[in-house]
């Protein structure tokens, strides 16, 4: 997993029987569209394959059987592909799995087959009908005048673009079935940054200019921070720093960013001038540990400071 996401997400809370409220992050329209396109590609590939089989069948004299088979399987693919996978896979189709999203029931109950049917039957209105209208506008209302067709097109567009009109990104099918598509990230538990003495140091080639093995993590006393110095930043800044350090761990961060941040923090907390020259990485790791300890301790006493004092 790359960076820890710090972007604002819309959270849907589901009450569990244990009396917790579980947060689920609402999936973005982009992720959902990508998942849908992936599934669509599978369906199209399947349709083509089935018609190829029918073609082969006609070569050996089974034209009638082949075409019926292709018609039937094509129908099932286009109309029950999503239903099948969402029922058997617990709200996940291959495309959704790839994009890390899944369907849940909005009220927190199990995702029933009824709900899956309802949400996927609506695709007729949201996708198949608009596509027909776009590809062949005349076929929709054959005998109506041009302005009538335009009006119908606008009406259909409202249904197709429904996810853009509400905060939970619900499409018509989700509205009818009481479902919601949420992020289901394959979260990876990384090492605890405050626990560096017990884990191996970052395993990556050092950036230019430095040779030899990386220095072992310094004992905390090397960077003694005072209570006052740790009283400046809040939780948000701590987690931004965590994000930076983790990206540095994975080698996806420019060292100059680390240096910049180090300079800024030293200025902000009033780091003693006589010890100004520090190497950024150990300094920031020590600062993270001290800052987290201070904020967590405060939190235990009921003071949760979200942001730095402005």
């Amino acid at each position: 997993m790359s960076a820890v996401s710090l972007a604002k997400e819309r959270i849907h809370r589901v009450p569990t029987p244990e009396g917790m409220s579980l947060p689920f992050a609402v999936a973005s329209v982009g992720d959902r569209a990508a998942a849908f396109l992936l599934d669509l590609m599978v369906i199209m590939a399947g349709t083509i394959a089935v018609w190829l089989v029918a073609l082969l069948g006609s070569l050996v004299g089974l034209a009638s059987v082949g075409v019926s088979f292709a018609l039937l399987v094509g129908f099932l693919l286009w109309n029950f592909y999503f239903v099948h996978f969402e029922i058997t896979g617990g709200g996940v189709t291959p495309g959704k799995r790839k994009m890390g999203v899944r369907v849940i029931s909005r009220d927190g109950g199990p995702l029933t087959a009824e709900a899956v049917f309802a949400r996927n039957l609506m695709r007729n209105l949201e996708f198949y009908l608009p596509v027909t209208a776009l590809l062949a506008p005349g076929a929709l209302l054959p005998e109506s005048p041009g302005w009538g067709q335009l009006l119908a097109l606008g009406w259909i567009a409202v249904f197709a673009l429904m996810p853009f009109f509400n905060q939970d990104r619900l499409r018509c099918g989700d509205l009818v079935a009481g479902t919601l598509v949420v992020k289901a990230p394959a979260a990876v538990l990384l090492s605890d940054l405050s626990d560096r003495a017990t884990v191996r140091p970052a395993m990556r080639p050092q950036p230019t200019g430095r040779t030899g093995p990386p220095p072992p993590p310094p004992p905390a006393e090397e960077f003694p921070f005072t209570r006052e110095q740790l009283d400046i930043y809040g939780i948000h800044e701590l987690q931004v720093l965590e994000d930076l350090l983790r990206r540095d761990d994975q080698g996806t961060l420019d060292t100059r960013v680390l240096e910049d941040v180090c300079e800024k923090i030293k200025l902000k907390v009033g780091w003693p001038v006589d010890r100004w020259q520090v190497s950024p990485r150990p300094f920031l790791q020590a600062f993270y540990r001290a800052q987290r300890a201070a904020l967590e301790q405060k939190m235990l006493f009921g003071q949760r400071r979200e942001r730095k004092k402005s």
Binding site: V4, V14, T16, P17, E18, M20, L22, P23, F24, S64, V65, V67, S68, L72, F75, N79, I87, V92, I104, P110, L111, T112, E114, A115, F117, A118, L121, M122, R123, N124, L125, Y128, L129, C172, L175, V176, G178, V182, P185, A186, A187, V188, L189, L190, D192, S194, D195, A220, E221, P224, F225, T226, L230, L238, E242, A293, L295, E296, M299, L300
Partner: protein
């Protein structure tokens, strides 16, 4: 004064529980990739225990830890475990049997008023189409489109009209039947979905189907072929029109749930009814399959008017019995 240098409480907390989280993660991975049946009985017993442990870990972690990665990880883990532990676990084959033996007829009965309304709309269309075409045969052209008529117009001779009814063939029947089934099922499902547009297009579709039928009946009746036309239509028509009416009823339920939310919020009401009436549409797809087979095979192979009437009567009796009687013994509604 310097900050304390001991191990953080949150780090300590994590060290003590991490093993259980990893175990849960492993089990969930196996369920996701190979299904629940892949777990042994012992592992199945562990799953809820581990889930509850992780859930309580998440509660504690939100209170004491500021490690964003840890919080994200636990949130995702508990969410996955929750879905796995509380997700519906009915075997597909059981669900299918239950659907036909209870759910489908029960939901038809529950929304009986809407089903009846659907039938009334189609009947209204038939009567109106029949009377109007009878009064002025030229109106036939405005009710039945050219592609639907396929030569069956007032301009055609009586012999041509009659030939259509007995033009059975033996080739390509399976293609014909499959085409009819898929086409009708698509129309039916669209009819359900259109209910979301406040139900108006559904009403239009139902009445229009009736008008078409009525106009055609008037045309054939004017040549003295009325009874033979109905014998041609009804063997599959009973099932097909029934299925269309179910889809129409489902669409109208959707529309009315949206327009008249009652004591729930509009969103909740829509979801409540939407899930139930989706079953109507799914059941209707099966009925379209039956109708398509009758139309594609039986009608093409059997020319005898008496046998045709017989099958029409049998399907009518069967569906009436099925929707009114089946699934009542289970008593309590789900």
């Amino acid at each position: 004064m310097t900050a304390p240098a001991f191990t953080l409480k949150s780090a300590q907390f994590r060290r003590e529980r991490e093993e259980a989280w990893r175990e849960l993660e492993g089990l969930l991975f196996r369920v996701d990739t190979r299904g629940l049946r892949n777990l042994t009985a012992g592992e199945l017993n562990r799953l809820p225990v581990l889930y509850r442990g992780a859930a309580s870990s998440l509660s504690v972690a939100t209170a004491i830890s500021l490690d964003k990665n840890l919080l994200d990880y636990l949130t995702a883990l508990v969410g996955r475990a929750y879905i796995c532990v509380y997700g519906a676990k009915r075997r597909p084959e059981e669900a299918v049997i239950e659907f036909f033996r209870h759910d489908f007829p029960a939901v038809v009965r529950r929304y009986f008023a809407f089903v009846a309304l659907s039938f009334a709309l189609v009947a209204l269309g038939v009567v109106a189409g029949y009377q109007m075409t009878k009064a002025d045969p030229e109106r036939y052209y405005s009710f039945v489109g050219e592609s639907r008529a396929q030569g069956r117009t007032p301009a055609a001779s009586t012999k041509e009209l009659r030939d259509v009814l007995y033009s059975g063939g033996k080739g390509q029947l399976s293609i014909f039947a499959t085409f009819l089934f898929t086409h009708n099922a698509k129309v039916g499902m669209l009819c359900f979905a259109l209910g979301f547009a406040a139900g108006v297009p559904v009403i239009f579709l139902l009445v229009y189907t009736g008008l078409e039928l009525g106009a055609m009946a008037a045309l054939y009746a004017s040549r003295g072929l009325g009874a033979e036309l109905w014998a041609w239509i009804l063997p599959h028509g009973v099932t097909e029109i029934g299925a269309l009416c179910l889809c129409g009823a489902a669409g109208m339920v959707l529309g009315s749930a949206l327009v008249f939310p009652g004591r729930h919020t509009r969103l909740r009401n829509l979801a409540l009814h939407g899930r139930e009436v989706a079953l109507l549409a799914v059941g209707a797809v099966v009925m379209f399959l039956v109708a398509g087979s009758i139309e594609g095979f039986f009608r093409q192979l059997v020319q005898d008017v008496g046998v045709r009437w017989g099958l029409a009567a049998i399907t009518l009796i069967f569906w009436t019995w099925y929707f009114l009687m089946v699934g009542r013994k289970n008593g309590a509604q789900p």
